[in-house]
Structures are given as structure tokens and as C-alpha cells.
């Protein structure tokens, strides 16, 4: 009887812990608009504020690990952090916490979009956002190029690769070719 009660208590604590993880992650997922790398700083700030983690460094470690995995970084981060916090069930909880709010938002917005596509103000709004997105990406490319010093030959290669994309060469082979060249290049220089 006593053992059973203790077990129940334990289970209760566990569910409480997991639901805290769930709500914390769905909260960050909601506030961190836009996705991508900009949201990771929001994650760090909010997870510490909600006392899900005590040490911001822990979040940084999880971010570093998440970046080495393919797939959307937010999902990866939730997987890594959730696993650290509560094992496999923590992982599932955190990932569903991160994924559920966007699903709800897009289902709602998507239905509206399908219905009101033809409204000129809406299409104009989205068109304006599109233009800013292109400008942001151009700026992001510049920042990424600045991260490492590169030789003129590497710049020539980059231009060639972008031209290949313009002529509809698939992205994955181009990407892999560039990464292999990137690895090999350093070997030659050293």
C-alpha cells in the first residue's frame, strides 16, 4: 500500500516535471517568431527565466549540439535539451511542445490564406514581406562570408555554384560538392 502510494507520488512528480517542460517549450516556440538562429537567444533567455535550466551555459551546449544535426534547428534543440532534462520522454515532450504551437497557428492562418488569397491587401502585404526577406538573406550571405577569410579562388567557386543554382542544378549535389572542396582545399594549403 505504502509502496504503491510512493509510486503514485513519483509518477505525479514526473508528470508535473514533463508538463513544465512542455509548457516552457511551447511558450518559447510561440514567442520566438521567425525561427532560425535569431530565436536561439530568445530560447536561452526564456528557459533560464522559467527556471527550466539553471545555467545558461547548458543551453549553449545544447545549441552547439543541435547545430551539428540536420533538420530544423528549433526541433533539434528541443530534442537535445529535452533529452538532457528528462530522458526520452523529456525529448518527446519538448519536441511536441515546440511543434504544436506552429501547427495550430499555420492551420488557422493557412485556412484564412486559402480563403482570402485574392484580397489585394493581403497579397500586397505578403509581397512586401517577400522583398524584405530577400534583402535579409542577401545580408545574411554577406555575414556568412565574413566568418572566414577566403581566397579569391574560393569566391570564384562560390559564384560558379550560385550560377549553377540559377540554371536549376539541384541544391544538394552543389552543396555537397562545395563542402568536399572546402575540406580538400584546406588540406592542399596546409
Amino acid at each position: 500500500m505504502f509502496v504503491n502510494g510512493e509510486k503514485k507520488q513519483h509518477l505525479f512528480e514526473r508528470i508535473k516535471g514533463l508538463s513544465r517542460i512542455f509548457f516552457a517549450f511551447s511558450w518559447v516556440s510561440l514567442v520566438a517568431l521567425g525561427g532560425g538562429y535569431s530565436m536561439l537567444s530568445v530560447y536561452r533567455h526564456e528557459l533560464v527565466r522559467l527556471k527550466i535550466v539553471s545555467d545558461p551555459g547548458e543551453v549553449l551546449d545544447a545549441i552547439a549540439r543541435a547545430q551539428s544535426l540536420p533538420g530544423p534547428i528549433a526541433v533539434n534543440f528541443a530534442a537535445v535539451m529535452g533529452k538532457k532534462l528528462g530522458g526520452f520522454s523529456g525529448l518527446l515532450t519538448a519536441v511536441s511542445g515546440v511543434v504544436i504551437p506552429p501547427i495550430l497557428v499555420i492551420i488557422t492562418l493557412g485556412k484564412l490564406l486559402l480563403k482570402y488569397r485574392e484580397v489585394e491587401y493581403l497579397s500586397g502585404f505578403l509581397y512586401g514581406v517577400r522583398i524584405v526577406v530577400v534583402a535579409m538573406l542577401a545580408s545574411l550571405v554577406l555575414d556568412m562570408l565574413k566568418r572566414y577569410r577566403r581566397s579569391n579562388w574560393e569566391y570564384v567557386l562560390l559564384v560558379l555554384a550560385v550560377v549553377a543554382l540559377i540554371f536549376d542544378v539541384p541544391g544538394v549535389p552543389v552543396f555537397l560538392a562545395m563542402v568536399l572542396i572546402g575540406i580538400f582545399w584546406r588540406r592542399v594549403e596546409e
Binding site: 517568431l33 525561427g35 489585394e120 500586397g124 514581406v129 517577400r130 524584405v132 545580408s139 568536399l180
Partner: protein, 174 residues
């Protein structure tokens, strides 16, 4: 059968989405617009815009939207789960390889090489979105203005995007 095919596309995308975020946009366009035919080029560009001002990564948003368009709410959930499955699986298998991989190549060099490839992919993302723009004075003006503001000042991306949207709603309709 069709349902399973769609789910497999998203499952596969989860594995190939290197670097997450922008690096994947070109790939998403190839798989979802060109090969899959799930979205028109315009819908694709709209979804990218929407996903910048809503929660969730681009790929997750697209999976939800396409699922909803093809088979309603439940399908939307399944498509999104199919996409999210890859990181979970990889998380388990990668640690067997990480030590083996590290013996051949230093993390810094790998990062430098990945950065080299990612620059191309992010340029590809810019192309994917730019392809759907009308090359007129309005687009060029707003685009260069936005670029200037981003490079010169520290403005929150969301604020930039919404300002761009409002300007678009008033001056770039049709």
C-alpha cells in the same frame, strides 16, 4: 498510397535539411514545388513570408500547410511529425559516428567547409524567393531600402518584415 508518398517526402526532407533554416529553402522548393507539385511558386513564396512572422521553422510551417491543403488537419499533424522524426533518429545514431568522423577532420575545418556550402544554399534560398518577385521599380526600391537599413542599423527582423508588409499592402498591390 498518395498519403504515404507525401509523408515520405517530408521524412526525407528532415534528413537532408542541413543547417536548418535558410539552407533548406532551396531544397524545399525543389522537392515541394518542382518535383512534388504540392505548392505553386507563389504559394511557396507566401509561406516563406508567413513563416518569418509566425512561430516555427520554415520547413515545419510548410509541412503543416501542405498537409492541411492535401488532407485536412490530421494530415497536417502527420506531415509535421514526419519532418520532425529525422532529428530524433539521427540524435541516436550520430554519436556512434562522431568519434570516427573527428579522427579524419577537425571541427573547425569541418565548420569552415560547411559554411562554404551553406553560403551557396542561403544564396539559393534568396534566389528561390526572388524568382517570384516582379522586377519593377517598387520591388527594387523597397529591397534596397531594406538592405540598407539591415546593414546600417540594428533593427528587429520582425519589425522590418512587418514594415515591409505594410508598405507592400499600400504600394505594391496587384
Amino acid at each position: 498510397m498518395h498519403t504515404i508518398k507525401v509523408l515520405l517526402v517530408f521524412f526525407k526532407l528532415g534528413f537532408f535539411a542541413f543547417g536548418g533554416g535558410w539552407a533548406t529553402v532551396r531544397l524545399l522548393q525543389e522537392e515541394l514545388v518542382v518535383k512534388g507539385g504540392f505548392l505553386t511558386q507563389n504559394e511557396f513564396a507566401d509561406l516563406i513570408s508567413i513563416s518569418q512572422i509566425t512561430p516555427g521553422p520554415v520547413a515545419v510551417n510548410m509541412a503543416t500547410y501542405i498537409g492541411m491543403k492535401l488532407g485536412g488537419t490530421l494530415m497536417a499533424v502527420f506531415c509535421t511529425l514526419a519532418l520532425a522524426a529525422a532529428p530524433l533518429i539521427i540524435l541516436y545514431f550520430l554519436r556512434w559516428f562522431s568519434g570516427w568522423f573527428g579522427a579524419f577532420i577537425s571541427p573547425v575545418r569541418l565548420d569552415r567547409a560547411l559554411n562554404f556550402g551553406a553560403v551557396v544554399l542561403v544564396s539559393g534560398a534568396a534566389l528561390s524567393v526572388a524568382e517570384s518577385l516582379r522586377p519593377d521599380v517598387g520591388a527594387v526600391l523597397l529591397g534596397s531600402l531594406a538592405f540598407f537599413v539591415i546593414r546600417r542599423f540594428q533593427v528587429s527582423p520582425i519589425l522590418m518584415l512587418i514594415t515591409g508588409g505594410i508598405l507592400g499592402a499600400f504600394f505594391l498591390r496587384g
